[in-house]
Symmetry: C2
């Protein structure tokens, strides 16, 4: 195995692939990535921790074909520090040992037998569809912060993605809050897709997806793959039934508050500086043309913030976890709606830009009795 | 107590003072800082954890004088997030409770009795001298990385500073390496100053010292203070005798290597990517017009680097801790000298820019027998 490759190309690719390699002390070979030189196709890099896999093709001047598994993090770090633009890569395929040569630097890196490295699953059937990469990234970002970290309910540790006819929906919830988003598909899609994608995969996708271009999505019963640029991300799907989210979303409201996201965000951020020393609760109270935001910590003191609003309907009070509100304010812009029914009913945040139901974020309130300071 | 103050001025000052406040769970009042409003002098902020203290004066429109102790980190975070340029500050000096008001934000912060807060020691006698701030910062940075973290030998956890006649010297060592620097004083200084400044203080000074202006230094038996801009840093001194560093510095050499710092740094950085998986040892070997740098890790593999050099004297081999060499290369520029006597003698790095003894960095070699891979 022998090839010459651009340092930049190789480093960029390693930087992507390394995210799919195991980082903990499981089988040492899973901390590696598989590197294959193919005269027709170029260099193929692939990493997987058995949950998620990423592969990438890059061009190179290949003199001799072959494949080897090398420790991913170490290879990435070495390539990053090399001085020159061109790297010569040679591997002894019997000893599983690679030589990386660049100007006056020579590295010998111990590898593993590529035949012992797992293959990525083939996800070529039964469903195949396309979506603009920027749109997929946006809807992931709009819901991913609501994924649960509680491993005892695996279905909540992922995002539900439903693609059906003209619409794609994404939902994530940890039972105390829920984020829901819906976008139009470019084309009417005949197959119905209804899968739960692991949190680790959606976070990786959010980092890797470009703003431009198209993503090809393929799904079978157990796996999903995303293909964009020369990168393919393959992930295991989470088995099980996602909770019926539709029944949680209120179909009515008693009041609607219209508020500038920037004002609300700054005020809640400040109030949470006090709240986070205690239970992280902020109390919201509409008073006609202003929203009062208050927090209290027995140690530190208290905060009182006022934000100008427009109110439709009656005045309300509600207590919520400040971080749940800040998470959604990070992904919204301009004016937003806060919809209220009562202090014990879900608190709903929507985008004002579209009156329809495209984005819904719901926070379960904290009962007044559960607070120390009420 | 009541005053109006610029948000920016107050935040900058809090950001400095907070470094002197206790961060761990000792007495809660030590996590606070003392804030005093004085109509003639302005606002005085002071924090101390009893090891180090920092104070600062800032201007404000003071309506009512007074003093209070407030939690430092919380106050800093709140001021950072405030929206407006002008902050109104009011304190109830009987309840030790402050109100911070800014536009639509109102914070009530619980404080402490300022009479229970420690005073900074008075360091007005017996020695007082001046030094350019930029020069003090430079010599601290040239030696501070050699300070020991081993608390069982307290004198090595600080920098020895000796000011005598026309010279100021600084030395730090952890027994396995030593950094020594010497600069000319602006004026001949009559008093001899010979103190050990704690590592925590020199690191704080390095962050705070400006490039321009003058530092006033005052010392007594137990404390040292540094005065620059409107900031004063006061620190306890470390008691005890610093080891006799002069006897460790070799007065001869068998070979001198002249090498470009940048080349050596890049090569050692790369070799250390392998070395750090093992004992962090790199082997240096001069071969007439090149320096070969090698490292090996039984797991990962090996690195071989070559750097062009000029050699005066015979060829040598030596094994050292890669991080010790990288630390000094971070603070040197241009061409440097590597002076060698033998594989078991100290390895000495000097600046080429001045042939004199102004900067000496010494690394104790690792005996070949202590290496796995030799």
């Amino acid at each position: 195995m022998n090839f010459k490759i651009d340092k930049k190309d190789l480093y960029q690719s390693l930087n992507v692939i390394v995210n799919a390699c195991a980082s903990s002390n499981t089988m040492p070979i899973l901390k590696g990535l598989k590197l294959e030189a193919n005269k027709e196709k170029g260099i193929h890099l692939m990493g997987t921790n058995l949950e998620i896999g990423i592969e990438n093709w890059i061009p190179a001047e290949i003199k001799k074909e072959g494949e080897i598994v090398l420790p991913a993090v170490q290879l990435k770090n070495i390539v990053r520090e090399l001085s020159d633009e061109k790297i010569e890569f040679t591997a002894d395929l019997e000893k599983y040992r690679a030589e990386v040569n660049c100007e006056n630097s020579d590295f010998f890196i111990n590898g593993f037998n590529p035949e012992e490295y797992p293959e990525l699953p083939d996800v070529s059937i039964p469903i195949e569809l396309e979506m603009p990469a920027g749109k997929l990234k946006r809807i992931i970002d709009e819901v991913k912060f609501s994924i649960s970290s509680d491993q005892s309910q695996p279905v909540l540790t992922g995002i539900l993605m439903v693609i059906e006819n003209e619409k794609t929906r994404m939902v994530a919830t940890n039972k105390y809050r829920l984020a829901y988003t819906k976008v139009d598909n470019e084309n009417n899609i005949e197959e119905k897709l209804d899968v739960i994608i692991p949190g680790i995969t959606v976070k990786e996708l959010s980092n890797l997806l470009p703003e431009e271009g198209t993503v090809k999505i393929k799904v079978n019963d157990n796996y999903i793959s995303f293909n964009f640029n020369d990168i393919m991300v393959v992930s295991r799907l989470i088995e099980g039934d996602f909770p019926n989210y539709e029944q949680v979303i209120p179909d009515k409201r008693k009041s609607r508050i219209i508020v500038k996201k920037d004002y609300l965000q700054s005020a809640v951020k400040r109030a949470s500086l006090i709240a986070r020393n205690d239970s992280n609760i902020v109390n919201l109270k509409s008073m006609d043309n202003k929203l009062v935001i208050e927090s209290e910590s027995s140690d530190i003191g208290s905060a009182h913030e006022e934000v100008p609003i427009q109110l439709e309907g009656e005045n309300h009070k509600i207590s919520i976890d400040a971080s749940y509100l800040l998470d959604v304010l990070n992904v919204l812009e301009g004016e937003i709606y806060l919809d209220l029914i009562g202090a014990l009913n879900p608190f709903v945040i929507r985008k004002k830009e579209k009156e329809n139901e495209d984005y819904i974020y719901l926070i379960m309130p904290i009962r007044p009795g559960n607070q120390e300071n009420e």
